[in-house]
């Protein structure tokens, strides 16, 4: 009964499509589908998540596509990444096969997997296109597993070739604009290909606008290709960090002759701050290469140019400061992971992460130290002591916490010692306080004098 309900609307759509679509385009769509469909992968990874102060494992569903005969697969980082414990894939011929995560990049939401095939096994592959040559209005199709429904195809056009997504997406995906399409993209399409009528993959489907109809977004394949090369070579993408944000020149003036990009903010203690860069400066060139962003769509390439500077080396930024030109030298640092490692402390009932530069800035810490509480379990020792998500533990029993690893050590030592009270020095926002955690009193404790 269910199956019928699902199939009937599909017939209706196909019938309508046949009536309006010219036969030549219909054939082109089928040809393009045939070139990509065999290389499609339905991915069901087991992923670790930390919520409510505990570590859990959940099964997620996504899509991917094979790019080499030896079994490299591109998908989204939010489908299968560092936190995936087991990656199960189903190929187009319904063969089930496990894959290994070779590397992933949260900043572009790209992950590279390798299928664990039998010795000598080869896989069908897709052809990658050139996303820089896309045009709005061009017919494209999305392949994948929307809501877990494998082998689905949806058809549409490119709505916009270079959509800039601001807000929190700007923090999560700062280095690319997005291909916007009206081809239906739903949860489960993530990691699947966006394909042109020549049968070339021109994007990796990754986002949809909720509350809207058919507003989906794909990562341009040229960005994905570069990330995949880096991961193949180094297992990860290395980027430089200067500790500043850039804005388009329209944020200060409408004058089209004003060149460069505007420095919006400079993080304290960052390389940019140390080299004397100030908000309001205009960067005209990076190592002699001119940079310019009049509109915000032009910002991702500028951010990428800055991130692509070699880590630990000196770069020269040519600036316009209130009309006077100057060159400043800045030594880059490596951009750290977005979130850092997360761990669950079962005995205390909380989860903790590394203090990232972002957390450090928000808490106004003068040095990167401590451990960040990401969640607490209701009724656990940490929660009972008044510890909560968002707290930063600065010291345990008087000993300053250097980093996450050190905090884990101090936690283990405290648990092993069995001492009743553990004092933590905790910071949240501008306020600090003392949190006294009461250990023990839990199951397994034997009352004195009890002789069975």
């Amino acid at each position: 009964m269910n199956r019928l309900c699902l199939i009937l609307p599909v017939f209706a759509v196909l019938a309508a499509g046949c009536a309006t679509m010219p036969a030549s385009q219909d054939r082109a769509v089928l040809r393009a589908r045939d070139q990509v469909a065999p290389a499609m992968v339905h991915i069901r990874p087991v992923r670790e998540v930390f919520r409510r102060g505990e570590r859990e494992e959940v099964v997620v569903v996504g899509s991917g596509f094979i790019i080499s005969p030896d079994g490299y697969v591109i998908t989204n980082e939010h489908v299968a990444g560092e936190r995936s414990t087991l990656v199960r894939c189903v190929l187009s011929d319904k063969e089930e096969i496990e894959a290994e995560v070779i590397g992933s990049d949260p900043f572009t939401d790209i992950a590279l997997l390798k299928l664990k095939g039998k010795p000598g096994q080869t896989f069908p592959t897709v052809r990658l296109g050139d996303s820089s040559r896309l045009e709005a209005g061009q017919t494209v199709m999305a392949l994948g597993s929307p809501h877990g429904l494998a082998r689905s195809v949806s058809l549409g056009i490119v709505s916009v070739t270079d959509r800039y997504l601001g807000g929190s997406d700007q923090e999560r995906a700062p280095y690319n604009n997005w291909i916007q399409t009206d081809a239906a993209i739903n949860p489960g399409n993530s990691g699947g290909p966006l394909v042109n009528l020549r049968g070339e993959v021109i994007g990796v489907n990754a986002r949809k606008l909720t509350g809207a109809d058919n507003v989906g977004f794909a990562i341009p394949i040229n960005i994905a290709r570069e990330v995949v090369e880096d991961i193949k070579d180094n297992g990860r993408v290395e980027r430089s960090w200067l500790g500043m944000t850039v804005q388009a020149t329209t944020s200060i003036t409408d004058n089209p002759d004003r060149l460069g990009v505007v420095i919006g903010s400079v993080d304290p203690y960052s390389p940019a701050a140390q080299s004397g860069i100030r908000p309001g400066d205009l960067i005209l060139a990076v190592n002699g290469h001119p940079v310019h962003a009049r509109f915000e769509e032009e910002l991702p390439p500028v951010r990428k140019r800055l991130a692509d500077l070699p880590v630990g080396e000196t770069a020269t930024l040519s600036l316009d400061r209130g009309g006077s030109m100057m060159d400043l030298e800045v030594v880059t640092l490596e951009k750290s992971e977005m979130r850092g490692e997360e761990r669950a402390l079962d005995a205390w009932g909380c989860t903790v992460t590394e203090v990232t530069p972002e957390i450090m800035a928000r808490a106004r810490l003068t040095e990167r130290a401590g451990a960040f509480v990401s969640g607490t379990r209701e009724g656990g020792m940490a929660s009972n002591a008044g510890l909560g998500a968002g707290d930063i533990v600065l010291s345990v029993d008087g000993e300053p916490v250097r980093n996450l690893a050190h905090f884990l050590e101090l936690h283990e030592e405290a648990v092993d010692s069995g001492r009743e009270l553990v004092l933590m020095d905790v910071k949240r926002g501008a306020l600090t306080r003392f949190v006294l955690l009461k250990q023990g009193g839990s199951a397994g404790a034997v009352a004195p004098g009890f002789d069975g």
């Binding site: 409408d254 903010s265 908000p279 928000r362 106004r364």
Partner: protein, 461 residues
Amino acid sequence: MLQTATCIAIALTQTISALGAMPTGTVERAHERVAPALCVVNYGLERTNPATGQVDRSSGSTLGLIVSPDGLVMVRGHMQIENLQPFNVRVVVGQGDEEQDYPAKVLRKPDNVNVLFLKIEPPTPRTFPHVTFARGVSLGLGEPVMAFGLLGDTFDNARGVQGRFIGSILDSPRRYYGLDTPVPNGFIGGPCLDANGRVVGVVGYDLTREQGGDLYARAGYPLVYQSDLFTRYIDNPPSETELTESAEDAWLGVFTQPLTDDLARYWNLPAEGGIVISTMVDGSPAESSGLQRGDIVTRFNGVAVRARQDRDVLDFTKLVRETGVGNEAEVHFLRDGEPMTLTVTLVPRPTAAADALEFEDDIFGLTVRDLTTDVRIMLNIGPDVEGVIVRRVKSGSWADLAQMRPGAIVLEFGGIPVTNIEDFEAAVERMAAERPAEVAVFCRVGQRTGFFRLQPRWPAE
């Protein structure tokens, strides 16, 4: 627990009404004296959506109590809270043929008791009927009291009296008397009299945050606000804009937490107790006196300090507040278990955000406030950041078009550094004179800074 039990017992065994328990003639005499001092306050209310700056207007009416012959009126505090501002306030005094309608101005709301004062502005001076509060009266459990109020619009706001018994006595954070059963809405803010006809306080439902309750948090259980809580405002009414009262409150500049039994045990401290300094505010008297975070204050200005539970912390705040600005207080404390003493000179409590002056620019559509100490703490902004915080953005304004939002801190306006609202006002005035085609505004949003560009269209000169 014991008090609750007692209270129930009284409710069950009392067979006569509270009014009936009054000596003969008491109720009539009290009514004659108090009812003329009751008045009806009609007002408009502006409710500002802090996110959009959009203002909704509504009207309302409440019971007022005239507390001085020159027309000082006390009303419940809910008429004026954050984002809610009364306007066009009118007070109706007397009933029937003697009814008179006067405009009134709203005085600065006291910050430690949830009442508001109005001043009637009659066209020609007159003497108003008023109540005089008895001070320092304590009530006993089960004692009958009279509550006076209005019967509401449908009964032409006729004056009425209801009898209640004192059903509970609360000792913390300071002494309150609870009535045994709820009172109708028209009686809130009305006078409460004891069996001797003394006006001992007013009936209210809520405590302010500083009294240990969130606004509305304790709604449903009526309390007698004793006259001692507000008589100082009657003796010395707050002005229309200036903060007279809070400026006199003394400030130490620390956040504290209770020294729980467990903490005392952990630190191996004697059982006498104290209060733990958990956070030191930048640039506070505590900081300059040499007090440190982690110090345990045991004695302050000669008064022993003991805080074992969260609510005890309020007693310390009150103690500091009432020690007096400019006074040198001796602080006894423990540092690493060693007793130590030092002297701290108290300063006036810094202005709170809710009391900070606002400037509304009618060109760009921004309403800004000075960065007050409490906002700095709430947003974790260091002393190095100077600017004004955007409170409202007028819908459809140039600022709205530039996507400026409340909460942004303006650091520079059109290239002019802004450290306070005077600077901001001057910068706006300068822009109005220079009429530039675009104005770059440098702001701090969260921990980041950035630019917004305003493109005003100036009217033809």
